[in-house]
């Protein structure tokens, strides 16, 4: 089996099931310098995300096929080979207020918990940031996993202070997203991040915020606020 990793070709003689197994095979036999992160090998620790044939994947859960082309995650500085700088993570989460602000002490029902079940499966693997065209050009963009985390707490019945989350995601946040859906497509935890961002726009509208692009185009007109369809009303959006 032949693989291309970054710019080098490798031949693997042994049968390997996953991309991670292939990386380990190469490191332990032919090229010890090949550098990558890995951890749980079970798809939950979020350390081994790479780009396989142009699409973000967890190396440990992705089957390895002849001709696969493996590259580092995009939109982050490469430290060495497949290892990228992840230090922006904490800042993004901080900016998005991805935590519980004030507990409401509400009683939580089965359906309340289900509302945040999928979002709280995020493993912070950074695949979504790698796939994000907005983050590519604007490193101040709060970005996909941090927005999903904000949504997870906004939607959490335990949260008594939804407003501060909503306030936090207005600048370089929900309205900057192009709704391209790349993040949803690559998420290994099957979180529909784009959908979360659309819902965050609705939440924002409920709190009196408007799409800045939309409001500037309609300067002086009073739409009464309080509604937002999640998409601009004009222009072509391939997602709809």
């Amino acid at each position: 089996m032949n693989l291309k990793i970054i710019d080098k070709q490798y031949e693997i003689e042994e049968k390997v099931d996953t991309i991670l197994a292939a990386l380990k095979y190469i490191k332990s036999s032919s090229n010890q310098e090949l550098t990558f992160r890995s951890g749980c090998k079970s798809g939950v620790c979020g350390s081994c995300a790479v780009v396989v044939n142009g699409i973000e994947k967890l190396a440990c859960t992705t089957s390895c096929n002849d001709g696969d082309n493996i590259q580092a995650l995009k939109n982050s500085q490469v430290i060495k080979d497949l290892v990228v700088d992840m230090s922006h993570e904490a800042k993004r989460l901080q900016n998005a207020t991805g935590y519980l602000n004030i507990n409401s002490n509400s009683s939580i029902l089965q359906e309340d918990e289900k509302l945040i079940d999928i979002q709280s499966n995020c493993i912070l693997c950074h695949s979504c940031y790698s796939s994000c065209p907005v983050y590519e050009v604007n490193k101040d963009f709060i970005g996909p996993f941090a927005l999903t985390r904000a949504y997870r707490y906004i939607n959490d019945k335990k949260e008594n202070d939804v407003k501060s989350h909503v306030d936090a995601i207005q600048t370089n946040g929900v309205w900057d997203c192009t709704l391209c859906g790349n993040c949803s497509m690559v998420c290994p935890a099957n979180i529909d991040i784009k959908n979360d961002i659309m819902k965050l726009r609705n939440k924002s509208a409920q709190h009196g915020y408007m799409d800045p692009a939309f409001s500037s185009n309609t300067a002086g007109m009073d739409f009464g606020g309080g509604f937002d369809t999640g998409t601009p009303d004009f222009g072509f959006n391939p997602n709809f």
């Binding site: 010890q32 859960t61 430290i79 904490a90 901080q94 935590y99 918990e113």
Partner: protein
């Protein structure tokens, strides 16, 4: 400069135990830093699936204590176990309050399930992502509290003088620079040593027991190292964990004839040995979840379904899943008292790297998550709030010798490949120091590991880069694994009788 700053507290390790301690320390007003070999959420806690135990009432607390004590085979300390079981309701309440999305019953109570060895269903859970969701919620809270992290720094050694901890030395993985970080107090929360069974373990490749080995090198007391829990159900081939919750929800274990052969909810050591006895006799063992139906599977074990599909290509609602036991949890570790104190002043140990005598010879499912949160808080409570005077280390030989060691590794010529040694170490450990042990096997393992240690010293790494050198990290981890394996073998040789997870085939009694 990090070297000049004196922290009140260094926490080594960013799993559930470390993060809980960090949050408690911050709340206490301590100047705390978390030093992690990985990134905070990459830790082993992310893999805990089944649940976290909490008794439902006073009567059940007694039963929880009793179950834990029984499973520990008399090695558990009743005071420590009582403390943990009594604290469980406030632990769950706290986790729930900071945002852990526990699964609920139709009445809105936190849902609980049965796990092996428990006399009642008392494991609270978040579907089968319990550890992941707890870990990430703790991380979110850490971000909120502005806790300082030093990530991707590997613990090398403890700086101890006059029986007092002064700080630690670390390898900055990004630059291969060796640094010291100084503090008045240190909590080790570095996790277990399942990775000495690499290839036969459900654990992360990072679970190499670095904290335990650093403690051993510094003459900190350790105990119970022979007690390694083998989880009954890891997927054949990949060793990926299938949680006990699969059996807790009603899953069967069947042999290749399709017959059940063991009470699926017996303690883990009993189930694991029953399975492995069959496997050694040439049988194949499967987890049978088909009768549960897709709806129940999606509700209670979505992660397991996903993992089985990804790693074995099997739909558990339709097919049998081939499984085998794998090393899962280290009961032994750094000895501590009930306040998480080691024999060195101001040095504490919590979580899987510690042995606080709660699991004894065998850990119950759902008690590890409870342990890390409970004692993460207890350790911080034990730290004196008084502004104690810091006495700087008189000598710098630990830092100097660690620097010299790394420089040597990065400059010497290498002939043999250390990866070959790694494989032989984990194979002999699993074969002779695994589910079944006897004197001749242990003696043989001892000689082989001594020999591997010699080969290790003669080997090295070919990658001489100073930038994010994972070969260097793996090489150091292997050194730790070898040192630790010898201690595990030694402890296993000394304990002639079978007890819990330590099973001596040659014990005639």
């Amino acid at each position: 400069m990090m070297q000049d700053h004196i922290y009140d507290l260094i926490i080594v390790g960013s799993g559930g135990a470390g993060l809980t301690a960090a949050i408690a320390a911050k709340q206490k007003g301590l100047d705390v830093v978390v030093v992690s070999k990985t990134l905070p959420t990459h830790s082993q806690t992310s893999q805990a699936q089944g649940g976290i135990n909490c008794a439902v009432d006073q009567e059940d607390i007694k039963a929880h204590i009793d179950d834990t004590l029984k499973s520990s085979r008399g090695l558990g300390d009743i005071d420590v176990i009582s403390l943990m079981c009594n604290e469980a309701p406030s632990v769950i309440k706290w986790l729930d309050e900071i945002g852990v999305p526990f699964s609920r019953t139709v009445n809105g109570n936190i849902a609980q399930r049965s796990l092996g060895g428990a006399s009642s269903p008392r494991a609270c859970y978040s579907s089968d992502y319990t550890g992941l969701k707890i870990l990430h919620t703790l991380y979110d809270r850490s971000i909120k509290d502005g806790i300082e992290f030093i990530n991707e720094h590997m613990l090398l050694n403890l700086i101890i003088e006059d029986e007092l901890i002064k700080g630690i030395t670390v390898l900055d993985i990004n630059t291969s620079e060796v640094k010291s970080i100084l503090a008045k107090n240190v909590i080790l929360a570095t996790g277990g040593y399942g990775a000495i069974y690499d290839g036969h373990t459900t654990n992360s490749i990072a679970s190499t027991g670095d904290g335990v080995v650093a403690a051993i090198r510094a003459d900190v007391n350790v105990s119970g190292l022979e007690f390694v829990q083998f989880h009954p159900t890891s997927m054949l081939g990949s060793s990926v964990l299938i949680s006990e919750s699969a059996r807790g929800e009603g899953g069967y274990l069947v042999d290749q004839e399709g017959a059940r052969f063991v009470d699926e909810l017996s303690p883990r050591d009993v189930v694991a040995r029953a399975i492995y006895t069959k496997i050694l006799n040439g049988d194949k063992i499967y987890l049978d979840l088909r009768h549960l139906g897709l709806e129940k599977i999606m509700e209670a074990m979505p992660q397991e379904r996903d993992l089985a599909l990804k790693f074995s290509g099997i739909k558990i609602e339709d097919e049998l899943l081939p499984i085998t036991p794998a090393a899962h949890y280290s009961m032994g570790g750094i000895s501590t008292d009930i306040n998480c104190r080691t024999n060195i002043s101001n040095l504490y140990a919590i979580g899987e790297c510690a042995n606080i005598n709660v699991h004894g010879a065998n850990r119950l499912g759902g008690n590890s998550l409870l342990e890390i949160i409970t004692f993460g808080k207890v350790a911080v409570n034990s730290i004196s709030n008084d502004n104690i005077e810091y006495i700087a280390p008189k000598e710098s030989y630990i830092l100097d010798s660690d620097r010299a060691k790394i420089d040597t590794i990065l400059s010497s010529d290498v002939e043999s490949n250390f990866y070959d040694i790694k494989k032989s170490l984990s194979n002999v450990m699993f074969k002779d120091v695994g589910l079944f042990r006897d004197q001749s096997g242990l003696d043989e393992a001892h000689d082989i590991v001594i020999n591997i240690g010699g080969q290790y010293k003669r080997s090295g790494i070919k990658d001489k880069s100073r930038v994010f050198n994972t070969s260097l990290v793996e090489y150091l981890q292997l050194g730790n694994s070898i040192e630790l394996s010898l201690k595990v073998i030694d402890a296993a040789q000394k304990r002639k009788e079978s007890l819990g997870a330590h099973f001596r085939s040659d014990d005639e009694s």
